[in-house]
């Protein structure tokens, strides 16, 4: 699976457990209620373990975590720069 598919899979299976809502990679994760602030914390923990990449505190911002698409781009760029 590529990064986007891994993130979509985690969000659907772990963070949206029990909720039958379709999401697309461009959906606003927080604004549309797909996940909440605790979900963001879980997502950061998941990324750090699954991709073996420490997300710097200052990178946990709207621009990088707005959607799965934004997060995928952020991870691609951040990992390339690391």
């Amino acid at each position: 699976m590529d990064t986007q598919a891994i993130l979509m899979d985690y969000i659907k299976k772990e963070l949206m457990k029990g909720r039958n809502v379709d999401i697309s990679p461009s959906d606003d994760l927080l604004g549309s209620g797909i996940i909440d602030s605790l979900g963001i914390l879980q997502l950061v923990s998941f990324i750090e373990e699954r991709f073996n990449f420490q997300v710097p505190d200052e990178d946990v911002v709207f621009e990088n975590f707005f959607s799965v698409e934004a997060l995928t781009n952020y991870l691609k760029n951040a990992q390339a720069a690391a």
């Binding site: 604004g31 602030s37 950061v44 505190d57 200052e58």
Partner: protein
Amino acid sequence: MDFSWSDEQLTYRNAVIEFARKELSYDVMALDRDDQFPHDAWKKCANFGIQGLPFPEEYGGAEADIMTTMLTMEGLGYGCRDNGLIFAMNAQMWSVQMPILSFGTDEQKQKYLPGMCRGDIIGAHGMSEPDSGSDAYSLRTRAERVDGGYVLNGSKTFVTNAPVADVALVFASVNPARKMWGITGFLVEKGTPGFTIGKPIDKMGLRTAPMAELIFEDCFIPEENRLGPEGAGSNIFNDSMEWERSCILGSHVGAMERQIEEAVQYANEREQFGQSIGKFQSVANRIVDMKVRLETARLLLYKVAWLKKQGKPAVMEAALAKLYLSESFVQSGLDAIRTYGGYGYMTEFEVERNLRDAVGGMLYSGTSDIQRNIIARLMGL
């Protein structure tokens, strides 16, 4: 699994216990009764190195790791009877100093950290509002972007250290539509036009840690006083909560240990029906339960610190430790009073104050209900 501490770590713990017994043995009862902040003790702690413990040497700190820091705070809780002073120091160290170290610019670090480590600058942390407590990210304080900075409007409540603070780390939204992504941290200095500190708030316990409201009315904050990027406020807040939970709970462990030792001593000395009350199983069993709670709480806490030292996530473990330890401190306080009987209920025996101080622990840094919500979610419920 290695449960041992290094000689250096134990030296820190023992040194702080000795320091606390020698230098912090003031009349806490009188300060508690009068809601007085112990300025001298704050300064003595800074001179000893408490406020600078985990901070880099270049800012006046000792660069101790989280395990050593937590163990030292445990020693402070054991040796110092003033839970309010310890709470006030924790409020500054983890909720103001650590965010400045993690998110601040070089200028912000140079401006505030050395003074805070020396005890010359006191910091406060403003997050809670009259209408947003557990739902912290629904805060109403606004930061409107203007030329050269921001204009803050709103208020903060339950702000520890506010009446004595020189600077406050305050959270406001630059974009309410973005919810938690709009929350941003600002360093607001005492005396800034439009910034006022309300009258001290009287409370049940931790009375030597002063508390007040912060009020912002068209308060201009220059851009260089923003902490971290716009929208990083929620992460600053979460980051500080993990440190705070680890270290403030460490002092609870120390206080509970002292409480148990004193309860054992009293139970052995106090005689009723021709024998020491500790010989009655109902009394002995109660003290045994205090000990079981202490040791299980200690293990939960050490695991959190160990995970953080490894750089691993500890959201679930921190919530478990916060929930169990804060509730255990309350139960330990009640059990101590039951052991002392009527004397435990009297202020002059300094037993009841621990219970009053402990109750706050079920509320600050995330209530017990919120900790249960976090644990349930992480369990997949």
